[in-house]
Symmetry: C2
Subunit: 212 residues, 2 copies
């Protein structure tokens, strides 16, 4: 199947949504936890998390202009903090359910049956069921005028990872932590490691990293 | 392991790079193909691709300030086009090798042994070995001053996907296309689908999508 610009425009809206959302490959899957100044909490499914830098440790998420996503952004701009929580097979259906359009003020934790967890200095709720959890402090908002989405940049200020998932060189074994990935709008996948590879250099053949 | 802001800052630089790059979960893995106006070509490994919208069909990539990444951005700004190509198990080591710091003007296709493929109207090279390939037209550059990275936004103007990987509702079966995912700086993974789930609605329990 070969599609040009005009073919993509001519696709049925729902078909195009599934198609274009699948096209980018496998995605990071996280639940973003936020708090409203009135004490209510929100938990939202995101597949747009990306790495921005390790020093300072910063990452980005894209927030859509639709109403439930605005709850997340309003909370982040009010409280300047949010948590990001990996999804495990035991609760991927609850994670998906967090993408439903609940009204502002409704707690997705309560609705889907996940557990709020709090840590010193972080007002936003973590997901207790996640094995890898981290929190960000709001740094910058960039409005993408092209389609009304918003890039939120955050500085990573707290990380919780099981000790036995961290290798000696800092690499986190996501499979040991049971982290899932997703594709398209609704597909959930576990992974199987092929190999880690040694740092690539010109004039050196690729090689498998042994006992890192 | 619980790390705070100051603990993250105090990590060894290489440890922190592996750790923070792993923390975001599994990532989209693509090879970005570009052409220089002088006719030379470039192929670079990216793990920062993210979906921005389906209508118009747009996506983003983050380009690091380091020198080899500048070859990609210079080419994109000169020719206004680039290709994105999924990675299969048969050539993931070559894909990794494209992250080596080759000099400007050196073709990673030739160095690592991948095949350039050209399509009408697209000056940038596709990777013939990829089962899923698409091309973008440059739309916008956003400089992220915080750490010198650059967000490149592109409009998807051509897509090549095997017919038998596209389901009736537009979902692309990435596993059938042998698309891999990556984690950290150097780890490559295949995936296994758990389930697709039905569109989530408040007051409706999550359910598995049958025969979409």
């Amino acid at each position: 199947m070969i599609l040009n610009d005009a073919d993509i425009l001519a696709l049925d809206t729902r078909f195009r949504a599934h198609f274009i959302n699948s096209l980018g490959g496998f995605k990071s899957l996280v639940l973003v936890g936020t708090a409203h100044p009135d004490g209510s909490v929100n938990l939202a499914t995101f597949s747009s998390l990306f790495h921005l830098g390790a020093n300072p440790a910063v990452c980005g998420i894209i927030i859509r202009p639709s109403k439930p996503s605005r709850n997340t952004i309003d909370n982040i701009l009010s409280t300047r903090q949010y948590t990001l929580n990996h999804v495990r097979p035991t609760f991927y259906q609850q994670a998906h359910q967090c993408s439903a359009k609940y009204e502002a003020g409704v707690s997705e934790f309560a609705e889907v049956g996940l557990t709020e967890k709090y840590m010193d200095g972080i007002e936003a709720p973590f997901v207790a069921e996640s094995h890898i959890q981290f929190a960000c402090e709001f740094v910058q908002k960039i409005d993408i005028e092209l389609n009304g989405t918003t890039l939120i940049i955050g500085k990573i200020i707290k990380v919780i990872v099981p000790d036995d998932c961290v290798q000696s060189d800092g690499f986190i074994d996501l499979e040991k932590a049971e982290t899932l990935t997703c594709s398209g709008l609704d597909s959930y996948h576990s992974t199987k490691k092929i190999h880690r590879l040694a740092y690539a250099k010109p004039d050196t053949a690729p090689s498998i990293l042994e006992n890192p």
